[in-house]
Amino acid sequence: MSFTVKKHGDVTILEVEGTLIVGNRQELKQKVIEELETGTRKVLVDFDKTTYIDSSGLGVLVSLAKKIREMGGDLRLANLNEDLQTLFELTKLDTLFQISESRDRALESF
């Protein structure tokens, strides 16, 4: 599992490779917070290379979305595979996040 940070204009993209679970959620949180401290307000999490997410991973996304919103920014998600889409639907988090089917679509939406 690893997280890669990329920039596209004023959007920070975080690629999640492997799992986003209880064992690595704090690492993702820390990376996003570091980006916020540099002034970033638009964050896109790209799940193209993600295998699965557990409840702790979902929790950290909810927490970050709230934090970024309070700072006047926005957290958006892209590239959920069918399993991840089901996970977001089961938990109704698909109603909380703006989710795009591709990175390009997500970038256009900011």
Binding site: I21, S55, G59, T86, L87
Partner: protein
């Protein structure tokens, strides 16, 4: 593996870094039993991760001197996973909240038991030598079709 049941027993220290290794070993057994792609990539990994995470963090308070015991049974139709910790146990129904209600949607926690119960066919909690959570998934119907 035909109709022979496969068993696996593991014991790990209460460290969250252990979770992925356990999940991989269980998924390997499930692959041998020709589980569906969705069960291999989603249903089983997520539900088992939740059970292990609960046992390590809540049951054993992440005390690495305490162990978590995992017992796996895979047969032609069923997967039975038992995760045992040294905690005092909990009331499954009382501890399962609905994270999809408007008041709970933005909570950071409270989705673990909910997901286990939505993804598995049965979730039970009982006392063994420790506190046991048993997850049961029917992966094939009696006529051999993937469930």
């Amino acid at each position: 593996m035909g109709h022979t049941a496969a068993r696996l027993e593991l014991e790990i220290p209460s460290e969250i870094e252990q979770i992925e290794g356990v999940v991989l070993q269980v998924i390997r057994r499930c692959e041998e039993a020709a589980f569906s792609a969705r069960h291999l990539s989603f249903t089983v990994p997520v539900a088992l991760t939740e059970a292990l995470s609960n046992a390590i963090l809540r049951g054993n308070g992440e005390d690495a001197s305490k162990s978590v015991r995992i017992r796996v049974l895979v047969d032609a139709q069923l997967l039975v996973l038992e995760v045992e910790d040294d905690g005092t146990g909990f009331d499954l129904d009382a501890c399962t909240s609905d994270p999809t209600t408007p008041g709970n949607l933005e909570r950071e926690d409270g989705r673990g038991l909910f997901l286990m119960r939505r993804l598995m066919d049965r979730v039970e909690q009982f006392r063994g030598s420790g506190n046991v959570v048993r997850l049961t998934l029917r992966h094939r119907s009696s006529d051999g079709r993937a469930a």
